[in-house]
Symmetry: C2
Subunit: 393 residues, 2 copies
DNA sequence: TTCTTTCATTGACAGCGGAAAATAAGGGCC
DNA sequence: GGCCCTTATTTTCCGCTGTCAATGAAAGAA
């Protein structure tokens, strides 16, 4: 048995029947609900709900509120059932080439604490050591809550096999076939879930964000790259070969700039942060150091900068239209660090989307959500929560 | 009660439990299987399979073969379970603006008979009258088999709500909100399933074709238009607003020819039959009457015709790559009447796909299947078979 | 024949979820 | 305050499904 510094041994979730687990998930994401409403949403009888929630109350995962208000005038007042977020804690980590971001969340995936440690060596061994240290630190902080940390989620960009817990290929870390879940479990003693970063973010939206209650939606992230997580038939799409949601490599302009994938005019080659900087440089000759500067320039009215953002918005809008035309999602959530500059391309995203969406695909609801960087780590925590609830260990 | 000329009253399928229905579906699409193998594939115990198949044997939907060969050397020989295709008949219709295609199939969706009636009036009432006549004719023929016709499937291009049995909008027929399932049931007396034509074809591939056993694949049709049916997580994608799989309106070249959707350079504006004819005309000045002539021209080496097909192949390949990048299907089946000219653009499809597919999305298996026009009607029959089995009436 | 192996069925049983009846908890009304 | 009405929740009972373990079946091998 490898050394472990987890404060406590794992305690399993009383998952019970699949129906019970679905009941819990419904309460978790759809907020406090009466038992009757819960029965309706989970497609069960009231009696089944009563039975399903009993062990969950007994173990403290669910608690009951007096229904303060908004109750029907007549009849017995309903009691609201809700998840006790404080009943369990989780850790989420996002690995990048430069740093590890970590958060401590409660069971409702609310961030209690965020940390960042820089990364100098990208070799798996070094990253694992930093991971272990960050986890140790977060666990120490977690001790103050007097509640156990029940799982650790790790999000990595690239081709990740969540089922096996293996990072097949990560371009930024330059990893191939690293069995990260097993390695991290060994050094932390926690149950570990490993997933692709965009899919992890999508899980967070599905359970705790703008995707709650939807069985068909997409999350588009804009920042250093352009990514997309898809939920179809209520499940996150993973792709047969580990690749899915590559909206960044949808072609927008065959004569456009060269993309690192070898093609021209990919969304990412136009709308990702480096592409925008390159565009400004190319057109104005001005060397722009970073995104903040580019945004400043554009906000101050610089034509070249504005054009670069406008062009990016158009590319994103077209990419989203492509997703909408193919999958007909109910909603697309646009997010990512790039959204800090949302005012500079919002209009272009919407108009390009409206122009390129076919028929009633245009009825898709476009939403935007700012994405502070720790949200990526929160996505990882969401996968850990999901595993905790749905995978009885 | 409206008049009905269905030969016999409906007899329901002994669907039993969901598991039983899944067992039947497995046998239906995965051919003859031993009970043990069946248990494995359906994720059940052998005992459960024994119980599930009993009523199906009793009602004649399943029959047993002596396991002729390929049996393990040792132990009791297994018996093969298979669906008795002759146990039930189905009708499938495909409505176009010009004609109705109809087929009579058996329970295994094998075409027994195909018919076509021309259509002069596209009004719902007139189409319904022609439909009734064609169905009557097919039912008469079906009488010769001494087996009941258990359902009718109708495939229509456009926005179709299968659940409600309503054609929301059909551009070729110029229909809006026609409750076709109810209307057709009234005049034929048969249970009716109505679905979008490409989705119907996709169901046929999923249950009886190249998609058997796959939970993530796509069907791309090339012909008068370019369409796409998607199966994700084992289910056909319908889209939140009835639109999905619009690969035809994925942009390939923003400076390309104008598409009827209002955008430029859609796949359909480059690769559909009329687009190819237009391209040849535009470049060579030669007026090409129809697709046959265009194919002849290209096969005889005419440069303009060859270029038009080559360009079409490239557009299709790019469109497929977009689907592969977004969904990571295991396989894409390329089909449609346009495939008669497959030799003229096969190479371009493959190379454009390979160039534009990102990472391991390129591992997707591209298959081609010729598509005689009656296959569209067969797709409709497949939806009727699906409804018969999964929707206990 | 008898044993071994593999396939298939049977019967006892446990668990889940549904229906209906019972119980709980208000408010309104007299 | 007691009774009635309404709505929420629980209890009780019951059927159904699928599993487990044991048994039966049908070869070939010894």
């Amino acid at each position: 048995m490898p050394s472990s510094f987890a404060a406590h041994p794992a305690e399993t979730f009383p998952a019970g029947t699949p129906a019970a687990s679905q009941v819990f998930t419904t309460v978790l994401s759809q907020g406090p609900l009466t038992r009757l409403e819960l029965a309706r949403r989970a497609g069960l009888s009231a009696a089944a709900v009563t039975k399903a929630v009993r062990p969950l109350f007994a173990s403290g995962y669910l608690v009951e509120d007096a229904d303060t208000e908004a109750r029907s005038a007549l009849g017995r007042p309903a009691n609201l059932v809700r998840v006790d977020g404080g009943r369990a804690l989780f850790l989420g980590l996002k690995l990048t080439g430069d740093a590890i971001f970590g958060v401590l969340t409660d069971l409702r995936c609310r961030i209690l604490l965020a940390r960042r440690v820089p990364l100098t060596d990208r070799a798996a061994k070094a990253v694992l050591a930093s991971t272990a240290e960050l986890v140790r630190e977060l666990l120490t902080e977690a001790d103050g809550y007097g509640v156990r940390v029940m799982g650790l989620g790790i999000a990595v960009s690239g081709d990740v096999d969540r089922g096996e817990g293996v990072v097949r290929y990560s371009p930024f870390l330059e990893w191939r076939d690293v069995p990260l879940a097993e390695l991290a479990r060994a050094v932390t003693g926690l149950p570990v879930t490993v997933d692709n970063d965009v899919r992890a973010l999508t899980v967070a939206e599905q359970w705790f964000g703008a995707g709650v209650g939807l069985s068909n939606f997409a999350v588009v992230t804009v920042g250093a790259g352009v990514g997309c997580g898809l939920v179809v038939h209520g499940r996150v799409v993973a792709g047969a070969h580990g690749v899915a949601g590559e909206i960044g490599h949808v072609t927008v302009d065959p004569d456009g700039p060269l993309c690192h994938c070898g093609n021209r005019g990919c969304v990412e080659a136009i709308a990702a942060d480096p592409a925008i900087l390159a565009r400004i440089r190319e057109r104005s000759g001005v060397e722009v150091a970073d995104t903040t500067e580019a945004v400043d320039l554009a906000r101050r009215g610089d034509d070249h900068a504005r054009e670069a953002y406008s062009r990016a918005g158009e590319a994103i809008g077209r990419g989203i239209a492509t997703v909408a035309n193919l999958l007909g999602p109910e909603r697309v959530v646009i997010s990512g660090e790039g959204l800090a500059a949302y005012d500079l391309f919002a209009e272009q995203i919407r108009s390009a989307f409206a122009a390129a969406a076919f028929g009633s695909a245009a009825r898709c609801d476009l939403q935007t959500r700012p994405l502070p960087f720790e949200e990526w780590a929160r996505g990882a925590a969401a996968t850990a929560i999901q595993s905790f609830i749905t995978e009885p260990n």
